[in-house]
């Protein structure tokens, strides 16, 4: 077991160095910083009218939770595994005395940490900028810790699931990037936005992350009202329900959502390790 942990750690460290030093990581870093910049600009321009908590919640939901986090985690986790398989440099690891699950687990961990670092930098920069701007310019209510922490928790657990799904694609399919793109754009974006009654939405990762954010950001009342309206499919006022009642009744608790995300991660990671242990990743057809 010690050997397994040691080799997993070694693979993770080496992969982390390679991933964080790559141009693709730089690209996602750029997008993460761009989000922070957009946040600062919007808060500076509209903070006094809309409220900092509302703007921070809405922008983070749209840019980070629904787009940048799934894309970054999916891309990096697929890239960490698939690049080496397609370049065939994976033979050096596969022929070393390293158990196969340790290789794939190490790469999964490296992709997860890379995603956390890339997204985390942009998120905390955005939070600091928003907090400073509203402090200096005396915009409405202050940016509350509950708003930042609820999104922070969501973004902290999300890469565990997305990277597990990405690893599963990378180890199962040659065209894993296409599968990853379909997953993010079709499943997470489309299925994740279907009405709550259909039940499909609850099978997406993005819904669990959104639930954590909605449930936890108690200070962003405007944001919660919008979300409650969206959850009920615009029937909130017709049914005469309060946003708080809708959120209490229809949005799962934070621990429940975290458990959902981590369970998804465990299932996909288990499948990925199982497939990765059994499948050949060196065709051997090129030189006989």
């Amino acid at each position: 077991m010690t050997g397994f942990v040691r080799t997993t750690w070694l693979v993770a460290l080496q992969s982390l160095r390679i991933l964080l030093g790559s141009k693709k990581s730089l690209f996602f870093f750029g997008l993460s910083l761009l989000y922070a910049g957009v946040m600062a600009l919007v808060v500076f321009r509209f903070g006094d009218r809309e409220g900092v908590n509302e703007l921070f919640s809405m922008l983070t939901l749209i840019i980070m939770v629904q787009a940048l986090m799934p894309l970054t985690a999916m891309y990096l986790s697929i890239s960490a595994i698939r690049d080496e398989i397609s370049e065939r440099s994976i033979v050096f690891l596969l022929s070393a005395p390293v158990p196969r699950p340790a290789i794939w687990l190490g790469k999964y961990l490296a992709a997860t940490v890379s995603s956390l670092v890339i997204i985390g930098v942009g998120f905390f920069l955005a939070a600091i900028l928003s907090w400073n701007l509203q402090g200096d310019l005396r915009f409405g209510a202050q940016l509350q810790a509950s708003t930042v922490s609820s999104f922070g928790i969501g973004l902290l657990v999300a890469p565990f699931a997305y990277c597990a799904i990405g690893s599963f694609f990378a180890l199962s399919f040659k065209r894993a990037m296409i599968w990853g793109a379909v997953f993010v754009f079709a499943w997470e974006s489309f299925a994740g936005s279907t009405p709550a009654q259909s039940g499909v939405r609850s099978a997406t990762v993005v819904d669990a992350i959104r639930s954590i954010a909605i449930k936890g950001s108690v200070a962003a009342t405007g944001f919660r009202r919008e979300m409650a309206d969206w959850i009920t499919g615009g029937r909130l006022w017709m049914d005469g329900m309060s946003p708080e009642a809708v959120i209490d009744k229809m949005v799962p608790s934070i621990p429940h959502s975290i458990w959902n995300v981590l369970l998804t991660a465990l299932i996909y990671l288990g499948l990925a390790l199982l497939i990765g242990s059994r499948k050949d990743y060196e065709s051997g057809e090129q030189n006989g």
Partner: protein, 305 residues
């Protein structure tokens, strides 16, 4: 002592047959794995290195399954033909990183890196980035990596590819030395001369099948009944040609200025008859040279058999 054994091993890639029914035991010493591109050499090596699992049969290294037993891979020094690394890394960092997977501590990895880079003549270029290395340097780096675990079994897939003459000489010497030290060294190549420089023990493989195994002369003996070519130097080639053509074991002759070339159908019967004919001084026979004792010719026969 058997280091590596293949038991009725077959491997398919979809509908394509990579290796068929290979049954082979390999012990200490250098063994050349010879075959044209696509013959199945790399597939055999990859199965021994634990990269591929056989479709049928079993592969064992020191009695263990290299695919499922990670620990046994510490005894295998695999030098693949693939030429892709972590290109941004320096040679020594890459080797050191790889050494850690073989169980070395950070300090131990540094020491073994010094040792293996010196062995393959890469000490001076250790600070180079892998992307800046020539084909020959990359080949040496892969060999250095193969020596990390101090293995008992070396699997060297086309190790001389891309090396300059001096580099070839160094690596050939190294391979011989590894064999002398009691290691099992399997060297694959599709170039006959390369293998001949390293060993006279061969396995010939063609279209995934094992064609022959042994020393070059043993393999030649296995094809005793195959057609052969002889060059006979004599004073009166036409007269001798007439006599030879009368033999049922002779398929044809080519008259030359100071001798003739004979195409033999059945070597045993021909040599018996030739002894008598050549003894007759009237022909003035001064030389008999077999034209197809070379590895090329042997391989050609076996492939066309």
């Amino acid at each position: 002592m058997t280091t590596l054994s293949y038991r009725l091993v077959s491997k398919w890639y979809g509908n394509v047959l990579g290796v068929s029914q290979v049954d082979l035991d390999i012990g200490p010493g250098v063994l050349g794995l010879l075959g044209v591109n696509g013959a199945g050499k790399s597939t055999l090596m990859k199965m021994a290195a634990g990269l591929l699992k056989p479709s049928l049969g079993e592969v064992r290294v020191l009695g263990e399954d290299p695919r499922n037993q990670a620990s046994v891979r510490a005894h295998i020094g695999y030098c693949p033909e693939v030429d892709r690394f972590y290109e941004g890394m320096r040679v020594e960092s890459w080797i050191q990183g790889m050494a850690r997977y073989f169980g070395y501590s950070a300090r131990g990895a540094k020491e073994i890196t010094d040792e293996v880079l010196a062995k393959v003549g890469m000490s001076e270029n250790r600070r180079k980035r892998l992307s800046e290395c020539s084909k020959g340097m990359r080949q040496r780096t892969k060999l250095a990596r193969a020596m990390l675990g101090k293995p008992g079994l070396y699997l060297l897939d086309e190790p001389l590819t891309g090396l300059d003459p001096l580099g070839r000489h160094d690596i050939v010497s190294l391979v011989r030395e590894l064999g002398r030290q009691g290691n099992s060294v399997i060297v694959s190549s599709h170039v006959l001369e390369e293998v001949e420089q390293m060993t006279d023990q061969l396995v010939l493989i063609h279209q995934g099948r094992l064609m022959a195994r042994g020393s070059i002369s043993e393999i030649r003996d296995q094809i005793q009944d195959q057609p052969r070519k002889m060059a006979i130097g004599c004073e009166h080639p036409r007269r001798m040609g007439r006599e030879l053509l009368a033999l049922p074991s002779v398929e044809g002759i080519e008259i030359q200025e100071r001798g003739l070339k004979v195409h033999v159908l059945e070597a045993g019967a021909f040599f018996q008859a030739l002894t008598k004919i050549a003894a007759d001084p009237i022909h003035g026979v001064h030389s008999i040279v077999p034209l197809d004792e070379g590895l090329d010719a042997v391989f050609g026969y076996l492939v066309n058999k």
